[in-house]
């Protein structure tokens, strides 16, 4: 019905061709951003295929916290550039993405956690990211509702304050990249599942779908939690394990908190949306799964943990709970580039619980990679070969206890 009254469609359904210069598997933020930036680089003969609707994967389920206060020399510049692209993305894509740079506090409740936050502050400042350590008084000033837990277990000792962090409307980002890619000439094909590959020896020459083969000069997999199933079609095992991540949202409340708060010690993160709802998330489920079912256990855990931090939520009702799939890499860093020994094929994966914020720079980097055939400098440490050479990135050190997003 809505379509009847809509003058301009977001993207135009077009008949599927039998060949494209580039076929992208997965219409989440990474697949669609790559398509958009490819059109900017002059590649327009593109199909983005998704087995479900646009943004059906983790992108539609993300709590969409954007930040750049990472811990490694490889990760910080990468996420810093993404945040920069996000800052002007509404204008660039001519779509209100409702990016709210509310700022963020990473709370430390133990000496070792505070030490970790200090290391991050130092690295962040050295690499041009606005981030510093503040004490309990300043924390209370910024977030009056917070329980500092003075004299209790896990008292809040300090926080890493990162003012440019924020949240964005995740669906809008996906749609706007889709519309931008479509306007640039790319085709978007939902409900078109890739079931196998066309190959000529070591070279991928296209994909197999239920509606027939599609030939391609280059194929990119941007399938996040499903990356291992794509790699398996090529007979390859990759360093990814798929874990469900759950989040939930409360009934709307009057505005009472305007920072995103995260506590690795309490396994929880929380912020209030413009609609007043309180979004609550934590760590991944402790076993891998491709199931999207949420659990009562995780809801209870999240509720218990958020109350340790914001006791004022005691009587508040939970409205919704949901689950998405996360492609966890061993070092919590992305895996971007070709797979060993296969030509004409790239993968962008390892986005785990943290990849929404990387959409713009991930897409831009992969587009550059595909066009030039050369690894862009910004992502040269994120190749799959690092697991062979032992040069892991160790973003994991930033979040020893879950709560990374």
């Amino acid at each position: 019905m809505m379509q009847l009254f809509r003058k301009d469609r977001m993207w135009t359904p077009r008949p599927l061709k039998s060949r494209y210069d580039v076929v992208i598997i997965g219409a989440g933020v990474h697949g669609l951003a790559t398509a958009y930036y490819l059109t900017k680089l002059g590649i327009t003969d593109i199909a983005v295929l998704d087995k479900s609707y646009i943004g059906a994967g983790a992108s539609a389920r993300s709590t969409a916290i954007l930040r750049a206060n990472y811990i490694t020399a490889e990760g910080i510049p990468f996420f810093r550039e993404s945040l920069k692209l996000y800052e002007t993305l509404s204008q660039d894509l001519d779509f209100n993405l409702m990016f709210d740079q509310m700022g963020r506090l990473d709370l430390g409740h133990t000496d070792s956690a505070v030490y970790g936050l200090r290391v991050r502050a130092e690295f962040n400042q050295m690499l041009g990211v606005d981030s510093s350590i503040i004490g309990p008084d300043e924390i209370k000033d910024l977030v009056p509702a917070i329980n500092l837990r003075t004299g209790q277990t896990l008292p809040i000792m300090a926080a890493l304050y990162h003012p440019p962090a924020g949240t964005i409307r995740h669906d809008a980002v996906v749609w706007a990249y889709g519309r931008g890619a479509d306007h640039g000439g790319a085709q978007i094909h939902p409900f078109t599942e890739v079931t196998g590959f066309l190959r000529d020896g070591n070279r991928v020459t296209g994909v197999q779908t239920p509606v027939g083969p599609i030939h391609a000069g280059t194929v990119l997999s941007a399938t996040a939690g499903w990356s291992s199933t794509i790699a398996a079609m090529l007979g390859i095992k990759i360093p990814i394990v798929t874990h469900p991540l759950q989040a939930m949202v409360t009934e709307p409340l009057k505005p009472f908190i305007d920072k995103t708060l995260s506590s690795a010690n309490l396994h929880v993160y929380v912020y209030q949306t413009d609609r007043g709802e309180v979004v609550i998330g934590g760590g991944v489920d402790p076993y891998p799964s491709y199931s999207h079912r949420s659990t009562l256990h995780q809801m209870q855990d999240l509720a218990a943990h958020v109350l340790e931090m914001l006791p004022c939520l005691r009587e508040v009702k939970v409205m919704r709970q949901w689950t998405g799939l996360c492609d966890m890499s061993p070092d919590y860093a992305p895996i971007m580039g070709p797979l060993d020994g296969i030509e004409g094929f790239y993968m962008t994966a390892g986005w785990g619980t943290w990849g929404f914020k990387a959409g713009p720079i991930g897409g831009k980097s992969m587009a550059e990679f595909i066009v030039t055939g050369k690894t862009p400098d910004l992502i040269k440490h994120f190749g799959l070969d690092r697991f062979r050479t032992g040069r892991l990135v160790n973003e994991r050190a930033a979040a020893p206890a879950a709560a990374i997003h």
Binding site: Y290, T295, P330
Partner: protein
């Protein structure tokens, strides 16, 4: 409960009593090539469907066992001692 696992010793118990121990991934011989060691440390099948994996009954008999689980539904179809 998210799902139940039939411990070979204690019978069906909730998953929160157990600890996941990874998909079955045999350790290579000490003389194995570095590529085999890379596989052992990092490469995973991460199967969507039936997968054989290690589980530990942490809050029960504290024994390790093998389970066959459909990762798309979390249904455990078979458990046995290693």
């Amino acid at each position: 409960m998210a799902f139940l696992i039939p411990c070979p010793n204690c019978g069906e118990r909730g998953v929160t009593e157990f600890r996941f121990g990874g998909e079955v991934n045999p350790r290579p011989a000490p003389s194995a090539s570095s590529d085999e060691w890379t596989s052992y440390f990092y490469r995973r099948g991460n199967t969507s469907g039936l997968q054989t994996e290690w589980w530990y009954h942490r809050y029960g008999c504290r024994k390790w066992f093998l389970a066959k689980r459909d990762t798309t539904t979390n249904q455990v179809t078979e458990t046995r001692w290693p």
